[in-house]
């Protein structure tokens, strides 16, 4: 495997609110490789989106990165720690939207309603290149064609509200690719879309990844989307990574009780009709009231009193890059 293009090491991002400190991301570490998709999955409040925002250095106050490294290998080959850069400095502005493209969930609120699709694309293209306006417009039409928008030469002059949800999300992907990034971060890119449109967008991202050897971070709550798209998976719960590994191991040999319970509780089109679902007792605690020890212990079927509610579990690496943070595993399992 090639060298990783992005390495996140011990990343912690906390929010310092009046009511207390929210440990939104608490010690995340993972590697991202060209041509591969890393899926970050978890339920509300698990920290998956804050992880993405930390990498892009767009964490809003009162949040800030309190520790860790985000090492990006730049086109020249040198490695830079994004945590050390000023969030609105020239280097970070070149990286954000330049070397790292991003696609968000809500194409309606991420696109301007006052400018045509073309104007927004041309702006993004010229921000990161020296193309003339005319050349940038041609490039914008090329990009629209690349993401599968029919009649791109006409659509370039359309406003976002004139497009359907699926076409808007394709425009978002075109915008993300405008500066030819090597890394694409997609945060719930298909959550607001219908299922047949979701299939189109996932197919599009997979095709662009193949064609351009893109490294993709896919953030979603949907285990089905992860199973379809990811090569490697990080499962998060209340700010902590609980399990990570290759996609097949996560789905077919899940080790952490949270991952196991989560997989069992997903409704499936393959289930017997009217089959009861396995449930996880209780609900996700408020982020300000994160349980001590392992954050999952109050809901965990295997919790060991005196241990799980006291000590934070450390990460244990098993065979095949499979990692767990759970007191059930004190030693690597072959």
């Amino acid at each position: 495997m090639a060298d990783p293009i992005l390495q996140v090491r011990g990343l912690s991002t906390f929010f310092f609110a009046d009511e207390g400190i929210v440990r939104a991301v608490d010690g995340a570490s993972f590697d991202l490789y060209p041509g591969r998709t890393l899926g970050i999955v978890g339920e509300s409040g698990c920290g998956k989106s804050v992880t993405a925002r930390s990498i892009l250095r767009i964490v809003e106050r009162p949040g800030r990165i309190v520790s860790g490294e985000i090492l990006l290998r730049r086109p020249g080959g040198q490695v830079v720690d994004l945590v050390g850069l000023a969030s609105d400095g020239p280097a970070m502005r070149q990286i954000r939207g330049g070397e790292i493209g991003l696609v968000f969930q809500e194409p309606m609120s991420s696109l301007s309603a006052f400018h045509t699709v073309g104007v927004q694309l041309i702006e993004a293209i010229r921000l990161h290149s020296r193309l003339s306006k005319k050349a940038a417009r041609d490039r914008a039409i090329e990009l629209l064609a690349l993401v599968g928008i029919p009649r791109p030469a006409q659509r370039v002059d359309a406003y976002s509200f004139e497009l359907s949800g699926g076409l808007r999300q394709r425009v978002m992907v075109a915008l993300a690719l405008a500066a030819e990034p090597h890394v694409l971060i997609a945060d719930e890119p298909t959550t607001a879309l219908d299922v047949t449109t979701q299939a189109q967008i996932l197919e599009l991202i997979a095709r662009l990844q193949r064609e351009r050897d893109l490294a993709v971070i896919l953030i979603t709550h949907d285990m089905g989307v992860i199973a379809e798209m990811a090569d490697d998976v990080v499962v998060m719960y209340l700010g902590r990574e609980v399990e990570k590994g290759p996609v097949d191991a996560i789905f077919h040999q899940p080790r952490h009780p949270y991952t196991r319970s989560l997989l069992r509780s997903i409704p499936s089109v393959l289930a017997e009709p009217r089959a009861r679902l396995a449930t996880i007792s209780g609900s996700i605690p408020h982020p300000l009231a994160r349980p001590a020890g392992c954050p999952f212990h109050p809901r965990c079927p295997d919790a060991m009193p005196g241990r799980c509610d006291v000590d934070v579990p450390v990460e244990v690496s098993h065979a095949d890059n499979h990692v767990t943070a759970c007191h059930l595993y004190t030693e690597p399992v072959a």
Partner: protein
């Protein structure tokens, strides 16, 4: 089969599209265009489809949140007496409200933040004439127990509760008046997976326990598989296929159902499916294509499909489909097992 609790016949809802200074009606959005189905006592029928297919408009017509443009909606009570809901005036609607209740999608905006749980659940009882405070409180306690919430929550306000708990409160309120029909519009789609499972199970258990009848409106076919006895698939204002749950999932007869099923991501990386990726977008209900509304996106479409409107025909008992080629196509469903 027993007499249906709900019968919908040729339901239509057209919204006028106005243009120009005088607001001249320039056309109509055919949100619901001739929909018929029935639901038996104790049964769950799911209406599924993508945005704009008319599933929510159908449910809002049945609840009479909006007035249908044409068609009949018959609601029967336990004695078999039917009310024609579609043509009721405002005064006639009030007794109807106790017989049809709704479970909403968003548990955060559907509960009044200034009312306690006891008031929220007790309100429909009060409105329908249960004046005695003690009697009402006893009923509210029973309802909380039914949805498995502790009675200690009675005097708290909604903000103290998680999404799942709020959805339980919404269900308790819907059950307060022993309705003949419960319309649930995307009741679990705003919830996290681990909580969603609890609510799906609760709805199933309550149905078994109380003999409830559900009209379940949803876009998520996986959830639909877990709750439905029968499923009706809508596209551009029409039902294109309806069948018992297992049949619809394993042997779909409409190309749109097939595509919809194949687009659902399956949580198993070893089953990365050969997806049928539909071209283009959902048909525009203000200007639907001629013939079969689905033909521009259908990989099996022939010349006939462009001009001839297919009727919804029963091909087997309980399985109806509106596709001219239903008899000759062999379509792929989702198989269980490895």
């Amino acid at each position: 089969m027993t007499t249906p609790v709900l019968e919908v016949r040729h339901l239509r809802k057209y919204f006028p599209v106005r243009r120009g200074l005088l607001g001249r009606v320039a056309g109509h959005i055919r949100a619901v265009d001739g929909v018929s189905f029935s639901i038996a006592h104790g049964e769950t029928l799911s209406l599924v489809g993508e945005s704009g297919c008319g599933k929510t408009t159908t449910s809002r017509c049945i609840l009479r949140a909006i007035a249908p443009s044409a068609g009949e909606i018959l609601l029967r009570d336990e004695h078999g007496d039917a009310i024609e809901v579609a043509s009721l005036d405002r005064a006639g609607l009030r007794p109807l409200r106790r017989r049809m209740q709704m479970i909403f999608q968003d548990p955060f905006s559907s509960l009044n933040p200034r009312m306690t749980i006891s008031e929220i659940i007790g309100e429909p009882l009060l409105v329908q004439g249960m004046r005695g405070t003690r009697e009402r409180e006893a009923r509210v306690r029973d309802l909380l127990e039914l949805v498995r919430l502790p009675a200690a929550y009675l005097n708290r306000f909604p903000h103290a509760f998680s999404g799942g708990q709020r959805q339980r409160i919404g269900i308790a309120r819907a059950l307060a008046l022993n309705p003949s029909l419960i319309v649930a519009d995307e009741p679990v789609s705003a919830l996290d997976v681990s909580v969603q499972a609890q609510i799906v199970n609760l709805m199933l258990d309550l149905q078994d326990q109380l003999g409830l009848t559900y009209l379940f409106v949803a876009h998520d076919l996986s959830v639909v598989k877990h709750v439905s006895h029968r499923v009706a698939v809508m596209y551009a204002g029409r039902i294109v296929e309806t069948a018992p749950t297992t049949r619809l999932f394993t042997s779909p007869k409409h190309p749109y159902t097939e595509a919809l099923l194949s687009a659902v991501p399956v949580p198993d990386p070893r089953r990365r499916a050969q997806r049928i990726v539909l071209e283009g977008d959902v048909a525009d209900p203000s200007n639907p294509p001629p013939g079969c509304h689905f033909h521009p996106r259908c990989q099996y479409a022939t010349e006939r499909c462009r001009s001839e409107i297919p009727a919804l025909r029963e091909i087997e008992p309980g399985h109806a489909v509106s596709c001219l080629r239903a008899g000759e196509l062999s379509l792929r469903g989702v198989a269980s097992g490895p």
